[in-house]
């Protein structure tokens, strides 16, 4: 919500600079985002009066002008504009001046002639003709400026002379004199070759010596459109030029107050509970309370001297009463559509609303001032003199003011006459009842519609408007009448028409004023303050609450105040949040801490990092094609995912049931960035269907991912082993996993602890890598946190250190290639007779001395007894038993 500080001054005085004002309002609850100084970018631009103008000696379209800017001497300015005449007042950007867009003006030479500044057009001041409709320029076609579209076929010959025919009754004429007769009206004397003519025109671009097209029949000088000419045929005859001022001002005056850019506009962030603050009056009330200043509100007074009976002319029905708590309307006859006055245009513009015409401007003005959206219909298009507020028919069509056609449903509320819809209630008027330049009779609608209905309707049509944004928050039904009266008052003030006596006012739902009990003790108890009851009453009264005894009546526009806590907030806002003391919590102490689950996560986190893995955070949602990329079969049960019905895009449309694609995406990104030796991890969730209440089973997964010269299957396995060791997991095994489609069938293992499968890891399948556009070996692991928690062993207990020395023996056995090291180790442990403390693999050899299809595997055995030093014989006996078992079970023989 924008607020013009000049407009605000009409209601309340708050003398503070922008920064202090912003801070004070922010701290009382109306957050200020920014303050704009409308004229901030404009400096050293003054009003000038053109004294004389001569053609530039070296240019056919430039003028050398002498301008009075109230300095000792007139200054000289060179311009290319053609719409100026001696006596005109215009904005002059002096030497070392600034204009919107960071433009800086300094003196210089134009084709050798000194120019001490620049005349400004509307656009150079950041304005357009809607701000100053009177400054619109319609240029005459200057024949000397003519550039034929086709060089070989000019429509007007280059050496045309006065009296030569252009076409039909149009002949060439030469301007001999131009006399200004009023603002932008000129008396032009013409040489028509064989005679002369005197023509009156509004074309401002004529000067003695110009050749023009003169219509002898209508006695008029032709514009481009009269000649059906294109702009590019007359490149200098453009409908743009210097802004000739029609204001009460003198040479030398600062331009900013003259054109209304001396205002400061405050941009507020208004929270959705305070639609009343989406208005100048609403904010003025907050300002008055903040500064403890009087608020001077004004009661609209309507003379209503129009002739006719409103009741006879207009009938309103509200069959959809539930969606229309109140409908108020008045009528204005004999409307004269025209521009609204400067003060109104300035205020609208300051608030970011473009002026259009007096009637439309009045509706916008009242909406800004009262926060009540208004609509104006052209009465002649309200067929049957009847306005019906009803639900749209299914499939009913309506073209709105923006020219867009909409197909409506029964969820939309429309304003209709007996035959058709003429407006989308609370959103936008219909094109078929738009106020146009010949509108004579106007109906002003000031209504209150159901917020949810308007919000949903606007959303469904994708057209959230200023009006709908207000209605959707739920407006005060008591505001419709003052607002429509204010509009009518402005009509009379502007002389824009005759207001009919009487008001149509349908009240379907009259809210009873809410009365609350003022409980100062409870308020202080909630805030932790010691504010006197009198002070609370004072604050509430400043906000127009009525207080009698302990009964507080809430104003109709404060629908957000429903209970004690709301009153406490009002009190706190103006007592000052920062004046509430700060205390530490008392009461019963509680024991804080992490849950077991979180402790496990933290343990895993630090293990992963200790082993060089960086933590990542990935999105929980993925693309459905991710399952294809990791080669899951089409009918794989885990493809069943939570699907977002309104995703941002396909790529983020389903909740992942696996973290693998997320990890692969990040590995790929790093690979493409040419980052080397990357190791990553994430503790993230997967979302499996089938949870309670139709929610998901959200399980956590530790995902590891890595690639690089120091990464292979066994490096990844080492990380997993270290993690499991840190967790003191017992009975850990790794089993080949050949059927996981995402992993290399020969380089993938399932991780087991006892009878529970903890997860899977290995080299990512080359075809999966290929799907990610990568030709490197990626290694990943997916371990379930639930399973890791189960596998977690008990706290350690001290085991006495060995008192007796160990005996070590190295053995190398030859076995079939298919026999795994795991099988050999298991067999060794089985064969030992209680003395074996440790087995470790130290070599695998294939080649000379070992038969084809076989391998030699060497282990280091550590044997020890807890109660004595072993003899060599005892050790040898155990080794012998081990070797026998190896041979018997696996056919592995000592090499």
């Amino acid at each position: 919500m924008n607020l013009s500080r000049k407009w605000l001054r009409e209601f309340v005085t708050a003398e503070a600079n922008d920064k202090d004002f912003a801070e004070a309002m922010t701290l009382s609850g109306s957050k200020v985002e920014l303050t704009h100084d409308l004229g901030e970018e404009i400096s050293n631009v003054v009003v000038g009066r053109l004294l004389s103008m001569e053609r530039h000696p070296d240019s056919d379209h430039m003028w050398v002008c002498q301008v009075d800017v109230a300095q000792d001497e007139p200054i000289q300015i060179v311009t290319g504009a053609w719409n100026i005449h001696p006596g005109d007042l215009m904005p002059v950007a002096l030497h070392k001046s600034t204009l919107p867009g960071g433009v800086k003006i300094t003196k210089g030479k134009l084709r050798g002639v000194v120019s001490n500044g620049m005349f400004c057009g509307l656009s150079e001041l950041g304005l357009d003709t809607r701000d100053f409709p009177y400054a619109e320029i319609v240029p005459a076609a200057i024949l000397g400026d003519y550039k034929p579209l086709d060089k070989d076929k000019p429509s007007i010959s280059a050496d045309i002379q006065p009296g030569d025919k252009v076409y039909g009754p149009v002949v060439c004429a030469k301007v001999t004199a131009v006399t200004a007769t009023g603002y932008s009206t000129y008396e032009v004397a013409l040489d028509t070759g064989d005679g002369s003519a005197a023509v009156s025109t509004t074309c401002p671009n004529l000067h003695a010596g110009d050749l023009v097209a003169y219509n002898t029949k209508t006695n008029a000088i032709c514009t481009l459109s009269d000649l059906h000419a294109e702009q590019k045929e007359f490149p200098h005859c453009i409908p743009d030029g210097i802004f000739i001022l029609h204001e009460d001002c003198q040479p030398g005056d600062d331009i900013k107050p003259v054109i209304g850019l001396d205002d400061h506009v405050v941009e507020f962030e208004i929270t959705p509970n305070r639609p009343d603050c989406l208005s100048v009056i609403g904010l003025a009330r907050e300002v008055a309370a903040t500064y403890d200043a009087p608020l001077s509100l004004h009661q609209p007074v309507v003379s209503a001297e129009g002739e006719g009976s409103l009741v006879e002319l207009l009938d309103v029905e509200t069959p959809a009463a539930d969606l229309c708590p109140r409908y108020t309307a008045r009528m204005v006859r004999n409307v004269k559509i025209g521009p609204s006055p400067k003060w109104m245009r300035e205020r609208l513009r300051a608030m970011g609303v473009r002026p259009i015409n007096n009637i439309v401007d009045i509706t916008n003005y009242v909406m800004l001032e009262y926060g009540q959206p208004m609509h104006a219909f052209d009465y002649r298009y309200v067929k049957g003199g009847k306005i019906i507020v009803r639900r749209a028919e299914e499939g009913e069509k309506l073209t709105t003011l923006d020219g867009k056609e909409h197909t409506l449903s029964a969820n939309h509320l429309v304003i209709a006459d007996e035959h058709r819809a003429v407006g989308l209630a609370g959103i936008m008027g219909g094109e078929n009842s738009e106020i146009v330049s010949d509108t004579a009779d106007v109906v002003f609608e000031s209504a209150c519609f159901d917020g949810t209905c308007i919000r949903k309707g606007a959303l469904a049509l994708g057209m959230r408007t200023e009006a709908s944004a207000k209605f959707e928050k739920g407006l005060d039904p008591m505001n419709t009448l003052p607002a429509v009266d204010r509009a009518c008052e402005l009509v009379e003030l502007l002389g824009a028409g005759q207001v009919l006596p009487g008001v149509i006012d349908i009240l379907n739902y009259v809210p009873q004023p809410r009365v609350l009990k003022l409980e100062p003790n409870r308020i202080n108890g909630l805030l932790g303050t010691d504010i006197a009851a009198d002070e609370m009453v004072r604050i509430l009264k400043k906000l127009d609450f009525t207080v009698e005894g302990d009964q507080v009546t809430v104003p109709s526009w404060r629908g957000d105040v429903i209970g004690m806590a709301d009153l406490a907030e009002e009190v706190a806002r103006f007592h000052g949040y920062n004046n509430i003391p700060t205390t530490l919590m008392r009461g019963q102490t509680t024991l804080g801490g992490y849950s077991e689950e979180e402790k496990l996560e933290r343990q895993l986190d630090s293990m992963c990092r200790a082993m060089g893995h960086d933590e990542i955070i990935t999105y929980s949602f993925i693309s459905p094609t991710a399952y294809d990329k990791i080669r899951w079969p089409q009918d794989y049960f885990a493809r069943k995912s939570f699907k977002i019905l309104n995703p941002l895009g396909e790529d983020t449309s389903i909740m992942r049931t696996t973290t693998l694609p997320s990890m692969l995406e990040i590995l790929t990104r790093n690979y493409n960035y040419r980052n080397q030796n990357v190791k990553l991890y994430e503790v993230g969730r997967i979302y499996l269907p089938g949870g309670e209440d139709g929610l998901a089973n959200e399980s956590k997964v530790l995902t590891l991912g890595a690639y690089g010269s120091d990464m292979d299957f066994y490096a990844m396995k080492g990380v997993i082993e270290a993690i499991l060791k840190d967790l003191r997991a017992a009975d850990v095994r790794f089993e080949p996993c050949t059927d996981n489609p995402s992993y290399h069938p020969g380089r993938c293992a399932a991780v087991w602890a006892g009878s529970d499968c903890i997860g899977v890891f290995g080299q990512v399948h080359p075809l999966v890598a290929q799907n990610y556009g990568v030709d490197a070996e990626f290694y990943c692991a997916e371990l379930s946190l639930d399973e890791l928690a189960l596998a977690k062993g008990p706290d350690p207990e001290y085991v006495p250190l060995p008192k007796f020395p160990a005996v070590t023996r190295d053995i190398a056995v030859v076995c079939e290639e298919k026999v795994t090291v795991g099988q050999l180790e298991e067999s060794i442990r089985k064969g030992a007779k209680g003395l074996l403390k440790d087995v470790s693999l130290f070599d695998i050899y294939r080649g000379k001395g070992v038969a084809e299809g076989k391998k030699s595997v060497a282990f280091n055995l550590v044997l020890r007894a807890d109660d004595r030093s072993l003899t060599a014989e005892e050790a040898d006996q155990d080794v012998k038993s081990i070797l026998e078992t190896l041979e018997k079970e696996l056919g592995a023989v000592l090499r």
Partner: protein
């Protein structure tokens, strides 16, 4: 004989001094003091002396022996010292050569920030809670006083899984307030960090998935002054002692009174600069006294109990903490970024 002894003494001492290593010195020890050494040879001639000459000569011979032994000892120790010095000199390293690389992994910066917040609250007796991200609209909205029709419930703002708008991705961590009220014994002090989801396109400050930390206290006689005091303590721990804060009125459906808490801009000290957009303050979190209706819906007696709650955006906290300019870096996971923390 006297001359012989003097001679041996002179030549031997000179030879010892000239010896360059302990091996040479050992050879000289044998040459002079060994069983077949020169001194021994001279002593063997003692028998030829008269009884009167012997004591004096014997004494002289002993003097020479002990002089030689002492010189050997000294020279031996000198040579040892020199040998050690030589060895150490030879073993000297270029200490500027980089050490053997050892690469530790890095905590994601956002979780560093989260850990700091968790620690502070745990120290104040808060329990850390975790909860579902696929959540019921009832808990995310209705139970938090954001009724049917509240704009944040729109399909343009929130992700839904069914046409009835019943199951959704939680748009805030606040449903954890309700879950805590429904399951925990009073008094309650919790924080609940986690992922939340809103329908925002990705840009430098927005992401459809981000993180919040919810906090809540319910007890007898809890006041807004407690809220201010607790949050001020947290901010001082996060941003340093003496960090200035201010509280501004705001609006949330589930708190009343509601506020936003700002910290004074660390860059300009409150004067106004580009970092704080000229305001001198930076918005940190939203908070307020739990709305009586929210407590009542959970069956908590508002005549006895009151509470306060807050929610803080983690990404923004981490970005401010580490001066990260673009939110996209958080989820891009480029190791060159991750390694910096």
């Amino acid at each position: 004989m006297k001359e012989q002894l003097a001679n041996i003494r002179a030549t031997a001492l000179a030879a010892f001094d000239a010896a360059n290593d302990s091996a040479a010195l050992d050879a000289l020890r044998v040459q002079y003091l060994g069983k077949k050494g020169e001194l021994t040879a001279v002593l063997k001639q003692m028998g030829k002396l008269t009884a009167e000459e012997r004591p004096a000569m014997g004494q002289l011979a002993n003097e020479v022996r002990s002089a030689l032994e002492e010189a050997l000892e000294r020279r031996g120790s000198e040579l040892k010292t020199k040998a050690l010095e030589d060895r150490l000199a030879a073993e000297a390293l270029d200490v500027t050569i980089p050490g053997t690389p050892y690469r530790e992994g890095h905590r994601h910066p956002m979780y560093i920030a989260l850990d700091e917040i968790k620690e502070i609250f745990i120290g104040m007796g808060f329990t850390v809670l975790d909860g579902p991200e696929v959540e019921l609209a009832e808990l995310n909205f209705d139970r938090l006083n954001a009724e049917e029709g509240h704009p944040s419930r729109d399909w343009s703002d929130t992700f839904y899984f069914d046409e009835d708008s019943r199951v959704m991705l939680r748009s805030q961590t606040s449903p954890m307030q309700v879950r805590a009220m429904d399951t925990m014994e009073l008094p309650i002090r919790i924080i609940a960090p986690g992922r939340v989801y809103r329908k925002d396109e990705v840009d430098a400050t927005h992401s459809p998935m981000f993180h919040q930390v919810e906090g809540m206290v319910i007890d007898k006689g809890v006041t807004m002054a407690d809220l201010k005091g607790t949050l001020n303590t947290v901010v001082e721990k996060l941003y340093g002692k003496g960090t200035k804060t201010r509280f501004r009125p705001h609006h949330f459906p589930f708190t009343e009174p509601s506020c936003e808490m700002d910290v004074q801009c660390h860059k300009c000290g409150g004067v106004g600069c580009p970092t704080c957009k000229g305001e001198g303050w930076i918005e940190l979190l939203g908070a307020g006294m739990i709305h009586p209706r929210v407590l009542e819906m959970a069956g908590i007696d508002t005549n006895v109990y009151s509470g306060w709650a807050f929610g803080i955006g983690l990404e923004r906290t981490a970005m401010r903490r580490f001066k990260i300019a673009d939110l996209r870096l958080i989820f891009e996971n480029d190791v060159r970024f991750l390694e910096q923390f």
